[in-house]
């Protein structure tokens, strides 16, 4: 799974082998906001002009949790690279990870606490002091606590893991409110639910792409956006060319070619919403062609009876031959692996589809096998990650509570539901009913703009924290985040804000809330974990461990691979899944096209849109920068008389957006695709008023089994507006014109 052997990792941790200098001293020394002409008369130990130092911490640009190393010169962060000893990133980063510096040095960061002085959402803020801000919040929620009304305080976060999650929980416990929830648009709720159904556990397993020989991806853009892109990319490189004489093969099934589709040997555009059915068809063929040898073979063929390749072929519009061939290759490859994500996991059939894909893995004998699905051991920290994800249903509940006037104080941190929820669920309107909204945020995104009070958080490059990557890498791993530079502005790390608020509320603080700073808190919790793991010893021993872990940025136990867990996957599961074909909002006759919103490798779910390097990074598949577009199949476009740059109204039953057309050769006719990420109404100069947000016009269908938003199940119609808009892109002519560019064998136009 990971390229780093257990010995290497331990060596690194033990010896601090990559020459980083401990961040503790540094962290102490840079706790100053005043910028001096000669910054340090007596410089900190590790500060020498002209010499770079590297600090290891954790990337926070997406939930993958890659370990990163940041290069510091003269107290300024200069470059982000992957942390070579971190098992997730192994020294690499994606483009978003690199662009973390743009977040740190973003000109639109919030620099002081702000108080809303105009109408809510008007963006009129006034600077206030931290004391004032904290007292305001403290007294308000303190009063609710005293009045036993603490349940009227709600805390909404993005994906928070590690001990910050625990801190939030303790804080809410201290208050006496159990309304702490997380919402992340990209959280794989359906995958969790399906895995719970299939394997009895809702911890993400490790998908061992690295050792697979045949990878069948149902809509999962594992190279661009799905779960852990950097880790998967490393694995993909190995799958292709890492084994002498044994090149792995990949197949991608999705209506619009993603990065992973482009990389695949075969790209199959099944009818949207039928991918799960296709998996069942393949499973049927796999069993009926005799590639499954389990004792329960008969039960499986009975359970799969209804999904004969010929029937499935008609529904999915994938030829029967192809289904049979896929089944054969999948069933006979030494290490095959099927994964599901993207639109496949975002229909009303999301869970059904993923269960079908899990069944495929089971039938091919891929569970707990190298190159298959490997079950992670318990995470390094007892607090399991992700368990507080509200999902779409949870958000609807929150909206209901807000509308009903049940929420007095809403604390929002690091999540942007105003942007990442369909317009018609009315999150923004519901916020109007909340008397006090407090945003803990570094940037003025759409949700933060609605706040009455903004408590500016330091970025992840200025904060202490820790993280348990999810999914794990097959063995227990925990990473440490440390500040790599002095806090730039009058901001505080979010953990420190929570601790201050806890003190404001007063009363008897639980033991963990007594720590003055997040740094102390983290260190103390690590000490406890360390002791719990049976490493009791002298004080000195932990200090050494801590120092080493801080230098390495990560701690792990490569040996502790989970054993063969019993896998409760039976054929009866097939009967219990819902309809494997997705329903769509909107009638086909009124809304002839399926809308395919997709996460982009550039902006992910939109959180990267305020980073100028990412705005200037050409979209990998289309080369477009600075804007949105709607992709159409060339034949469809021809029929409708649409040329590139024609501005279209894309109208769904839930709303409409106005966006220029882009002719895209690799999209199924009858499907139109709009990238997610642009279309911000706020979020700083680089993001604001640029492009459109397709999530806003998604109809609120939900997955039958997980209750999650089925964001790929909306139909739309297109209307030419007559306007034209220049789509800014870097591509000239995207055909080789018979030139020898891609290599001798590729010499065909």
């Amino acid at each position: 799974m990971s390229k780093i052997s257990r010995r290497d990792l331990l060596q690194y941790i033990g010896a601090g082998g990559i020459g980083v200098v401990g961040g503790v001293l540094y962290g102490e020394s840079v706790q100053q906001n005043v910028e001096l002409l000669i910054p340090q008369v007596v410089p900190p130990e590790d500060y020498s002009p002209g010499v770079a130092t590297w600090y290891n911490t954790v990337c926070n640009q997406c939930p993958a949790g890659c370990g990163i190393s940041v290069r510091i010169r003269e107290g300024k962060a200069k470059k982000i690279e992957g942390n070579p000893v971190h098992p997730v990133s192994q020294g690499r980063t994606c483009a978003r990870g690199q662009a973390g510096l743009n977040a740190l040095y973003n000109p639109d960061r919030i620099r002081t606490p702000l108080q809303n002085v105009g109408q809510r959402g008007s963006g009129n803020f006034e600077e206030i002091s931290w004391d004032e801000a904290l007292t305001t919040v403290g007294s308000r929620i303190g009063r609710l606590k005293i009045d036993n009304e603490a349940s009227r305080v709600r805390l909404l976060c993005g994906r928070v893991r590690g001990h910050l999650d625990e801190l939030f929980l303790q804080f809410m416990n201290l208050l006496g409110s159990d309304h702490y929830q997380q919402y992340d648009f990209t959280y794989p709720s359906a995958l969790m639910a399906a895995n719970k159904m299939s394997f009895g556990t809702d911890v993400l397993p490790y998908y061992d792409i690295r050792n697979a020989v045949f990878l069948l991806s149902f809509g999962a853009d594992y190279l661009g956006t799905w779960i852990s892109p950097v880790h998967h990319s490393l694995a993909y490189g190995h799958l292709r060319q890492g084994r002498e004489g044994r090149r792995g093969k990949t197949i991608q099934i999705e209506p619009r070619m993603s990065l992973s589709g482009a990389a695949a040997d075969e790209w199959i555009a099944a009818r949207p919403g039928t991918e799960g059915l296709l998996a069942l068809g393949i499973a049927h063929a796999l069993v009926s062609e005799g590639h499954y040898h389990g004792s329960d073979r008969d039960e499986w063929s009975k359970a799969l009876q209804a999904y004969s390749p010929s029937l499935v072929s008609a529904e999915t519009e994938v030829s029967e031959d192809k289904i049979l061939r896929l089944a054969r290759e999948f069933g006979t490859s030494t290490a095959s692996l099927a994964i599901a994500g993207g639109a496949t996991a975002a229909g009303t059939n999301a869970v059904a589809s993923i269960v079908a894909v899990n069944a495929l893995n089971y039938l091919a004998g891929n569970l707990s096998q190298p190159g298959g699905i490997i079950f992670n051991p318990d995470p390094a920290f007892s607090a399991t990650a992700g368990s507080r994800q509200a999902g779409f249903q949870g958000m609807l509940d929150l909206i209901g509570a807000m509308k009903a006037g049940d929420v007095d104080v809403l604390l929002v941190h690091d999540t942007n539901p105003v942007f990442a929820l369909p317009d018609n669920v009315g999150f923004r309107q519901a916020m109007q009913n909340v008397p006090l909204i407090i945003a803990l945020s570094s940037f003025r995104d759409e949700t933060t703009e609605m706040a009455d009070l903004i408590l500016p958080t330091s970025t992840y490059l200025e904060s202490w924290g820790d993280d348990v990557p999810d999914p794990g890498v097959g063995f227990p791993v925990a990473s440490i985040s440390q500040p790599v530079v002095a806090t730039l502005y009058d901001t505080l790390p979010v953990g420190d804000i929570v601790l201050s608020l806890a003190r404001q509320i007063g009363g008897e603080l639980p033991i963990h809330m007594r720590w003055g700073t997040m740094e102390e808190f983290i260190k103390e919790r690590w000490r406890e974990e360390y002791d719990q793991r049976g490493s009791e010893g002298e004080e000195q021993e932990f200090e050494a461990f801590w120092q080493a872990a801080l230098e390495a940025g990560v701690w792990g136990q490569p040996g502790a691979v989970a054993g063969d867990q019993p896998v409760p996957l039976s054929s009866s599961m097939i009967a219990s899944i819902a309809d494997p074909v997705s329903r769509f909002a909107g009638d086909e006759s009124d809304y002839p096209f399926v809308l395919h919103p997709y996460l982009t490798a550039t902006f992910f779910d939109g959180r990267g849109a305020n980073l100028p390097w990412l705005q200037e990074m050409p979209d990998p598949m289309t080369s477009v920068v600075y804007g949105s577009w709607v992709e159409l199949n060339p034949v469809t476009a021809d029929e409708l008389g649409i040329r590139e740059g024609d501005v279209l109204d894309v109208e769904s039953p839930a709303g409409s957006v106005r966006v220029p057309a882009l002719i895209f050769p690799a999209i199924r006719p009858g499907v139109v695709a709009i990238p997610v990420g642009q279309g911000h109404a706020a979020y700083g100069r680089y993001a604001r008023d640029r492009g459109v947000n397709p999530i806003h016009i998604v109809a609120t269908l939900i997955d039958d089994q997980s209750g999650d938003l089925a964001w790929a199940a909306t139909r739309v119609k297109l209307k030419l507006t007559g306007e034209r808009l220049q789509i800014i892109k870097t591509d000239g002519v995207t055909r080789t014109l018979g030139r020898q560019i891609l290599g001798p064998e590729n010499d065909h136009a």
Partner: protein, 249 residues
């Protein structure tokens, strides 16, 4: 005079450029490359490439020392997308070098096609002569929105208007590695000690960099791969970058 003639003879001798001290070389495995563009952003970060803004981008005035070219093959449904990272090929017979009237671009003893910003007068001839279109001109003096300039790499010059620029194979990293080698009382830089920013970031390990004069170097071994080819080889520019073609299955 005689030394001049001698020098000229040596200079004119075919293969003059073959005898490099180091010969920095890159291999790019197209079977690994996924077009993710991590390399592009890494280069932008490392080499102080400007943020040109939407207007300039629309005018095609962007600066990307490494870019991913994309080519479609076939039509729906049998359509394929092919990515190919394109950066300065550090040609041993570089057309750009003969073009420059002031030697602002020339070949150094390490086989690099170097670019001397201070010397450039901005004729742009080199960019016309370069068949790989990897030279980027500073049409304006670009600035950074405060405080983004704090991120600028102090090891790399910030260029002004009127100057040509392009991939340097991260020469600053080569220099640091050489300095370290010198400080360590080693004469030579070891394989793997120089890692350009793009190579460093590439999450599929598609890029390999090293000294091809060293037969033991990883890059030398990669170059022997039967899938190896050079882009536009027929132009006889003798690029230093070997691409490994994508495998069709």
């Amino acid at each position: 005079m005689s030394t001049f003639v001698e020098k000229l003879r040596q200079y004119r001798k075919p293969g003059y450029y073959d005898k490099f001290d180091y010969h920095w070389t890159m291999t790019i495995d197209l079977d690994r490359c996924t077009g993710c563009e991590a390399c592009m952003v890494a280069c932008q970060a490392e080499n102080n490439l400007p943020i040109v803004g939407e207007k300039r981008f629309a005018e095609n005035r962007e600066i990307k020392w490494i870019r991913i070219e994309r080519y479609w093959e076939g039509e729906y449904p049998d359509v394929k997308m092919r990515f190919i990272p394109m950066l300065c090929q550090h040609c041993d017979d570089a057309p750009c070098e003969t073009a420059c009237p002031v030697f602002a671009t020339y070949h150094n003893q390490d086989g690099l096609n170097t670019q001397i910003y201070n010397r450039c007068i901005g004729t742009r001839t080199c960019a016309v002569y370069c068949p790989y279109e990897v030279r980027y001109f500073n049409w304006f003096t670009y600035t950074w929105d405060e405080p983004l300039e704090q991120q600028l790499n102090p090891d790399v010059t910030v260029r002004e208007k009127g100057v040509m620029e392009k991939c340097t194979f991260c020469i600053q990293r080569i220099r640091i590695a050489k300095d370290n080698a010198k400080d360590d009382d080693r004469r030579r830089v070891r394989d793997g000690e120089v890692v350009p920013a793009c190579v460093q970031s590439c999450p599929t390990e598609a890029l390999v960099f090293g000294n091809s004069n060293d037969p033991e170097a990883k890059v030398s071994k990669m170059m022997k791969n039967p899938r190896g080819y050079k882009v536009l080889e027929e132009l006889n520019t003798t690029p230093s970058i070997v691409y490994l073609t994508k495998v069709h299955s």
